[in-house]
């Protein structure tokens, strides 16, 4: 069977697991929770198999197109972490892995209702963005072991940040009391904007033909809605989006009531947020910033060029450094640090996708 078959099964499992985790927090039946975990594990195994098959496939692809290279080199060069599609998939895999570990350590299944949606978000993004799933040859600049470890560790770090994001949003949902509270408005808007962008990308996917979509994601991103040529489409998009976010804001308090009835406590969520950042921060620093700089130095002769992608990863780093210092040294607690954790992950997403979609840069990750 092919890699995409296993991946398809994994993807279905994750969406199903998300729904099951959410029903678990709604109905509070232990059996539902166990089912959710089982589905997640099943999906994870499938995705792991898909990952290995893809690696083997691209190994053969590499060996065929470069008959002269040695075994280890071929193995490293064909690691499936080479483009947007593959790295997003690896992000999902790491996210689920970290989620399962945390679920095991804390013996609490509630967090799944917040982490699985992050995975689903990434999967939906992969599907609706129409990014190329082909195995592609590696351009010369990307043929570097530093780059490979750079991508590997960064994405493990991003996944840890993804978990902290889920936990921080859950925390905010739990501790905010009224619709007029700033933290409440903050989380409802963030959640709303995420959903709006994904839905808008879904419209791109459905309404633009393959021809109109063309090769590069940035050329058709949001073209069916907010960036449409027709002014009325743009106006309608805005009105519907704002209405949508309003609905989330209006009914979001219901979620709090559901969560409060569960065994999860805000303290536990705060702890998970911190712990995942404590894992993500060193991984991101070493893998993202340090190895990225070493790679840049060996490829271009400059370890830092202030290109938008680098700058955004620095901004991300600042935000998480801020989180650590605010919490540990300045003694911030509760909502304020949770908001920082949420902003941190928004910066991660912007570093990874926004820079390519909205800004432009040197990096090849965008096609």
């Amino acid at each position: 069977m092919s890699s995409s078959t296993f991946f398809g099964v994994a993807e279905l499992s994750y969406f199903l697991a998300m729904a099951t985790y959410i029903s678990y927090i709604a109905f509070r039946k232990n059996a539902i929770g166990v089912t959710a975990t089982a589905i997640t594990v099943f999906g994870f195994l499938n995705q792991s198999i898909a990952f290995i098959i893809r690696w083997v496939d691209s190994y053969h692809f590499w060996v065929e197109s470069t008959p002269a290279s040695a075994f280890i080199e071929s193995l490293l060069r064909s690691a499936p972490l080479r483009n947007l599609y593959e790295s997003l998939i690896f992000f999902v895999w790491s996210l689920i892995l970290i989620h399962l570990i945390i679920e095991f350590i804390y013996k609490n299944r509630t967090l799944g209702a917040f982490v699985l949606p992050v995975a689903a978000l990434a999967l939906a993004f992969i599907d609706v963005s129409g990014v190329s799933t082909e195995i592609q040859p590696l351009i010369p600049a990307l043929q570097s072991n530093w780059l490979l470890f750079h991508v590997l560790l960064s994405f493990l770090g991003y996944a840890a940040f993804g978990v902290s994001f889920g936990a921080a949003v859950a925390y905010l949902v739990m501790v905010t009391e009224s619709r007029l509270e700033k933290s409440y408005i903050f989380w409802s808007i963030i959640v709303g904007v995420f959903m709006v962008v994904l839905i808008a990308m879904g419209f791109d996917y459905l309404s633009l033909s393959t021809m109109q979509r063309g090769e590069l994601l940035q050329s058709y991103f949001l073209k069916a809605t907010f960036r449409s040529a027709s002014g009325s489409v743009v106006a309608v998009s805005w009105v519907i989006s704002i209405a949508f976010i309003f609905v989330i804001w209006r009914f979001g308090l219901g979620l709090k009531r559901v969560l409060s009835a569960l065994s999860i406590t805000p303290n536990m969520l705060d702890d998970i947020t911190y712990k995942s950042i404590a894992i993500g921060f060193p991984l991101f620093t070493i893998g993202g910033l340090i190895m990225g700089a070493i790679w840049a130095n060996s490829a271009w002769g400059k370890y830092w060029t202030w290109d938008p992608k680098e700058t955004w990863s620095l901004i991300t780093w600042f935000v998480y450094a801020l989180y650590l210092h605010a919490r540990f040294v300045a003694g911030w607690r509760g909502k304020r640090v949770a908001i920082l954790a949420v902003i941190g992950f928004v910066a991660v997403i912007f570093t990874y996708l926004g820079v390519n979609l909205v800004l432009s840069g040197l990096h090849s990750y965008g096609g």
Binding site: P137, A278, F281, G301, A330
Partner: protein, 483 residues
């Protein structure tokens, strides 16, 4: 009086710069201002950014806004006085704050541990208690052994009718944050040294040519102090595609006419000499250049010969009855899919091909194309072979040239930061006190072991470790009391 006042001013300044609130403000400012530079293209030409600004401010306002932005340094903002000022402030903050706290940490690390009262142990964040059926000495010995086998250095104190064991591990991890902070400062040091003493330039070096100076990006000419020569440049393609797999060129360094160093450089594998590094970064065709065709001919019998020919030149192969003449060249030959005619699809040497006219005695003239990337095109019907190896002297290799004496500091900083972060987040300073005394519940022959401890990080793991150590001790105690 005067003295005291001075000290106060100093104190105020010190407190200001050592405050974490300031750090929070600086980090937020750096993040927010950095965003500007990712939107406005840095060091770009005027027209690009005016066009960008017109999208936000309209065509009529754009030039005015542009001029204001230039004044504010937004067009090269990471080098603007205020951004650099923020970075300086950040370094001062980081230095002062670290210096401010360091003595306290040093004391914490240097002060020997002291035994604690039993009640104090009960109030520690991690605590365990167990009662074993054995004498106090046996219990103590086994607890001691168990801690030692987990590599704890254990101290002992006696007080009243109880014994206390205490130990700590990982106290030096307390220095982790200072190592991280120091590494950040080292990055600044490295960056400043690089900016002051280094340079960055570019060199388009034609095949067969030599240079002993380069041009920097800001238009200066810098003598290298040696000569760099390019033997050849070549692109390798993935099999059956036009996707480049590798760009590489052979470079030779000569000094005083003597060859010092020869290396094939490729992307991610530069040549380094005397602190100056040459990176393969691009390539291209030299306009109007005429080069030499490097052709390898093999006669039927196996005689192999390499020829260098100019366009229009004629060659013979020993034992063959024809004369070949080089009559045409295409850097990128392809067959048009509609008309079937041969055409050239690029100015770059993507699929180089040479046309050779064969003049065979008696048979007249015929022309054939030989492609470099498809060697079989040079197999002649009677078994002789012609291989087109290169059209040499028409391409240049594009080299990024840089000297950065600060890069050593950067690498050192990277190593330190890795170590420091590891110490901060994956290690922890653990302290343990174990009180061993008679069981107050009064059961005869029982000993009570109360354990308390603290860990600077990851309490959960610490608790697990303690449980394991105690389980091991109580197992050995049981075994000994059975004997």
């Amino acid at each position: 009086m005067e003295n005291k006042e001075k000290k106060d001013v100093f104190d105020i300044i010190w407190d200001f710069f050592s405050s974490v609130k300031l750090a929070v403000v600086i980090l937020i400012s750096l993040s927010l201002t950095s965003i500007i530079g990712t939107i406005v293209e840095q060091r770009a030409d005027q027209a690009t950014n005016i066009a960008l600004l017109a999208k936000f401010f309209g065509d009529s306002m754009a030039p005015t806004v542009y001029n204001i932005f230039v004044k504010l340094g937004f067009m090269d903002m990471y080098h603007s006085w205020w951004f650099v000022g923020l970075l300086v402030l950040f370094s001062i903050n980081l230095t002062v704050c670290s210096l401010d706290r360091f003595p306290k940490t040093l004391r914490l690390v240097q002060t020997p541990m002291k035994p604690q009262g039993e009640n104090a142990i009960k109030n520690l964040p991690v605590k365990k208690e167990l009662s074993v059926r054995s004498g106090q000495t046996t219990a103590k010995d086994e607890v001691l052994n168990s801690f030692r086998s987990s590599r704890y250095r254990v101290f002992e104190a006696t007080g009243g009718n109880a014994v206390q064991l205490y130990s700590q591990k990982g106290k030096y991890t307390r220095f982790g944050v200072y190592v991280v902070h120091l590494s950040i400062l080292l990055i600044f040091v490295g960056a400043i040294i690089g900016a002051r003493l280094g340079f960055r330039g570019f060199l388009n070096l034609p095949e067969g040519d030599s240079y002993s100076y380069i041009y920097t990006s800001d238009g200066r000419t810098i003598p290298l102090g040696f000569t760099i020569h390019c033997n050849w440049y070549d692109t390798i393609y993935y099999k059956d595609t036009n996707t480049p797999q590798e760009f590489h060129s052979e470079l030779v360094i000569t000094e005083g006419g003597r060859e010092i160093l020869k290396k094939v450089v490729e992307v991610n594998d530069p040549l380094k000499y005397r602190g100056i590094t040459f990176y393969q970064s691009s390539y291209g065709m030299i306009p109007d250049a005429v080069g030499e065709f490097i052709i390898q001919v093999t006669a039927k019998g196996g005689q192999e010969k390499t020829l260098r020919l100019f366009p229009g030149e004629t060659f013979e192969i020993s034992g063959e009855d024809f004369r070949g003449t080089i009559v045409n060249f295409s850097p990128a030959l392809t067959r048009d899919s509609r008309t079937g005619a041969l055409t050239t699809f690029s100015d770059n040497m993507i699929n180089p091909a040479v046309a050779i006219e064969f003049d065979r005695a008696g048979e007249g003239k015929s022309t054939g194309w030989i492609l470099k990337r498809i060697p079989e095109t040079g197999n002649l019907p009677d078994g002789a072979r012609i291989r087109f190896l290169d059209y040499w002297g028409v391409e240049y290799t594009g080299l990024q040239v840089s000297k950065d004496p600060g890069v050593g500091f950067i690498y050192l900083a990277c190593i330190l930061m890795t170590i420091g972060l590891y110490a901060c987040f994956f290690m922890s300073h653990k302290k343990i006190w174990v009180n061993i005394g008679p069981d107050p519940s009064g059961e005869k022959g029982h000993t009570k072991i109360s354990v308390g401890g603290t860990a600077s990080k990851n309490r959960l793991a610490f608790e697990k470790e303690l449980e394991k150590i105690l389980a091991k001790a109580s197992r050995s105690i049981e075994e000994r009391s059975k004997k």
